[in-house]
């Protein structure tokens, strides 16, 4: 095994050893859809949710929560700590670059997100007979772009924060408004049009729209995919440009 796969292997083990994080990523979304799925009548199309099946809507929220939790709380916290603890510096004097660790971690997190989304789709299909996403290709693309844009945003927070604490803090500061504007706390259908507009420009807002639409079999508006791609490129480029490899 080369350095990358070796690091990815070890980082996967470390990810699973953080019980709270693993539970948040794999357990929370499933618990959410099961909890709401058991509400009588929630398996029918809901008027206030653009006629989306209630459980399907909640499953889409579950996807959004996975993306936001991993990208905005997990990434800044872990990368901030790896820098503060000197782990990145230590790798800098081995034949393996510290960048390899960052790439290995991003790969592990992306894989965890894909697995968790798959789990949510499977649970609502099996337990509540919610159809699998009708526009499967668009759904997959929406999820992948959502993962990429939120990981990139999390990396940017980690890149510019001077300490591990501030990295985690910036992550949380991004987490709540993103969740709010994306419509995780209450549906965008109930928002004013201005707020909805703002929400559409956030990576999580675009991701949630695109995931909901493709689940219902509607081709997501290209604008959503474009916004996620733009966040990925801009936040990713800024993170790469301004990344601090060591704590001052």
């Amino acid at each position: 095994m080369n350095g990358f796969s070796r690091l990815a292997f070890v980082e996967t083990k470390l990810f699973l050893r953080e019980r709270a994080a693993a539970l948040a990523v794999f357990g929370l979304p499933v618990a959410l859809v099961i909890g709401f799925g058991l509400i009588p009548g929630f398996g029918n199309p809901q008027k206030g949710l653009s006629d989306q099946i209630g459980t399907e809507y909640i499953a889409a929220l579950g996807v959004a929560i996975v993306l936001a939790t991993l990208g905005l709380t997990g990434v800044p916290m872990v990368i901030g700590q790896y820098r503060q603890r000197g782990i990145l510096r230590r790798l800098g004097v081995t034949p393996v670059r510290p960048l390899t660790l960052l790439l290995a971690d991003l790969t592990v997190w992306a894989a965890a997100a894909i697995l968790s989304v798959t789990l949510v789709v499977a649970v609502v299909r099996i337990a509540f007979h919610v159809p699998v996403p009708a526009a499967a290709g668009w759904f997959a693309l929406s999820v992948l772009l959502g993962i990429a844009s939120l990981l990139a945003l999390g990396m940017l927070a980690a890149a510019v924060a001077p300490t591990a604490r501030s990295a985690a803090g910036i992550g949380w500061l991004l987490f709540f408004p993103n969740m709010f504007l994306a419509g995780v706390y209450f549906p965008t259908e109930e928002m004013s049009s201005t707020m909805r507009q703002i929400g559409n420009f956030t990576p999580l807002g675009s991701a949630l729209h695109a995931v909901r639409d493709s689940w219902m079999g509607i081709d997501p508006r290209l604008e959503y995919l474009g916004i996620m791609a733009a966040w990925t490129l801009v936040a990713g480029a800024l993170a790469a440009r301004f990344f601090r490899w060591e704590q001052a």
Binding site: M1, N2, G3, V10, R85, I87, R89, R90, V93, P95
Partner: protein, 303 residues
């Protein structure tokens, strides 16, 4: 034979201020070379420029014939580094850490043997976060050696170790050198440097104040002996100042301290005998690197 390490005019500035200011030295294969100096003297910055962690602003550095700036990857395959104040992932186990780092190198050492040698076998399954300070330190030394390096950089080797573990560590480092490995040791402990190093560079404010063998440094400093005693009869201590070789006499309550060079101590005791002054608690301090350091730099380590 070309030296393993050649440093010429190495300079590193931060905000216009030279932290390392044009230092030059070379290290031969199999040598243990010490960089000694107080905190802030530039020791760590200098080795980090040699390891390729920092970009030098001027000068030349060749380690095993490789420039750390342009040939970092090839260099990193052949050096081992123990950095000051690093941590590993909290939940990474000792065994996993060694296996992981071993996998980075083209011809790694047997990590089980390293565990054994550094007394970590019983801790192989323990998470990094649960190790004591001394165990962490030994793990970092083992990690510096896991790539079977030709050159090892050890920055504050024995910090966090108890006296017994320090001695054991010194023995192990001597063994590492006996295997032909060149060792660069950064330290602010005199005893460590005196015990281990073949040659020492004393760094002060980014410059090399002196460079020699520990014994050579002591000689060149012409450091003074010091004798102390408590006279049991009245003594006009200033009369001792006239004794050949004596450079100073001071009295602190009942205790008299005489400093001097050469064979002054015998002369002083002879003088005391002539005056029939019996003394108690007579102590003569030999010359040490400690005293040489003060003589060479005009200050103690702590200041």
């Amino acid at each position: 034979m070309t030296p393993v390490i050649e440093v010429t005019g190495l300079t590193k500035r931060y905000g216009g201020q030279a932290v390392v200011d044009g230092i030059s030295f070379h290290v031969e294969q199999g040598e243990i070379f010490g960089l000694l100096g107080p905190n802030g003297a530039g020791k760590t910055t200098a080795v980090e420029c040699m390891e390729g962690l920092r970009r030098r602003d001027a000068g030349q550095v060749r380690i095993l014939g490789l420039d750390p700036l342009t040939d970092g990857h090839r260099l990193h395959q052949r050096i081992g580094v123990q950095l000051q104040e690093t941590q590993l992932q909290e939940k990474l186990k000792v065994r996993e850490a060694l296996q992981l780092y071993a996998s980075f190198y083209p011809r790694p050492a047997d990590w089980r043997e390293l565990l054994e040698r550094w007394g970590l076998t019983a801790k192989a399954g323990t998470s990094f976060g649960k190790l004591s300070g001394g165990q962490k330190q030994r793990l970092f030394i083992a990690l510096a050696l896991v790539g079977n390096p030709d050159v090892v950089f050890l920055d504050e080797l024995t910090s966090g170790l108890d006296p017994g573990a320090r001695r054991a560590t010194w023995d192990l480092i001597s063994q590492v050198r006996a295997g032909g490995v060149t060792v660069v040791l950064v330290s602010h402990f005199m005893d460590e440097v005196e015990e281990l190093c073949d040659r020492v560079a004393i760094l002060e404010r980014g410059r090399i104040a002196a460079l020699d063998t520990p014994a050579g440094l002591v000689d060149s400093a012409g450091a003074e002996y010091r004798m102390r005693f408590r006279p049991l009869a009245p003594l006009d201590e200033q009369s001792l100042a006239a004794v050949p070789g004596v450079t100073a006499v001071t009295r602190r309550r009942a205790q008299v301290e005489v400093t001097g060079t050469g064979d002054f101590a015998s002369a002083v005791t002879a003088e005391l005998a002539r005056r029939q002054v019996v003394v108690a608690d007579l102590r003569i301090e030999g010359r040490s690197l400690d005293n040489a350091y003060v003589a060479l730099t005009g200050r103690t380590m702590d200041t």
